[in-house]
Symmetry: C2
C-alpha cells in the first residue's frame, strides 16, 4: 500500500533568508536522489494554529521502499549533516488509505 | 492561491468501532456538502511518531472560500455537535505553494 510520508518543520534560519532557501533546495536535491522517493513536494505551512513553517512530502510504493529510504546513506547523512543542525522543530506523519 | 486545509486527529471512540466508522462517514457527508470544499480526503495516520490516527484534507480555491467554509452553519454545527465531543486530540495545518 502506498505511504505518503510527511514532515512539518521550522528552521533555525530567519524567514526569507538565503540559508533558508539553500536548505530547501539542498534537501530537495538530496532526498529526490534517493531511490523510491516519488512525488516529492515542498509546501509552506500557513495556519496560525501551528508554528511550523514548511512541509516536505513524498510517496513510497510500500513499506519496503520507505525502509530502504530511511536506511539509505544519502538519507542518513542528510539527517546528520543538515536536518539536525538546521531544523528547530518538526513533526512527522505518514498517511495511507483508510 | 489554493489552500490545502488539513487536520490530523484521533477520536474518543475505539479503533475499529461502529462509532468511529459513523464519525468518519458523517463528517465526510457534512463537510463535502459545504460550498467551496474540493478534493476532500480521509487518510489513516500510521507513523508511530504521532499518536493521531486520521487526517481530513480539503482544498479551497482561495482564502475567501476557506473563510466562507469556516463560517458556514453546516461547519459550525458539525464542530459543535460532533467534533468537540468525539475528537480527543487534533492538530491543524494549512498548506500552500512555496
Amino acid at each position: 500500500m502506498p505511504i505518503r510520508h510527511t514532515v512539518v518543520f521550522r528552521l533555525v534560519h530567519p524567514a526569507g533568508s538565503a540559508a533558508e532557501r539553500e536548505f530547501l533546495a539542498d534537501a530537495e536535491a538530496a532526498l529526490t536522489s534517493i531511490p523510491g522517493v516519488e512525488e516529492f513536494g515542498i509546501s509552506r505551512q500557513v495556519s496560525p494554529k501551528s508554528d511550523l513553517a514548511y512541509q516536505f512530502a513524498m510517496t513510497f510504493a510500500d513499506q519496503r521502499a520507505y525502509q530502504a529510504y530511511n536506511d539509505h546513506p544519502a538519507h542518513v547523512s542528510f539527517v546528520a549533516d543538515r536536518w539536525v543542525p538546521e531544523v528547530a522543530a518538526f513533526q512527522e506523519y505518514d498517511f495511507t488509505e483508510v
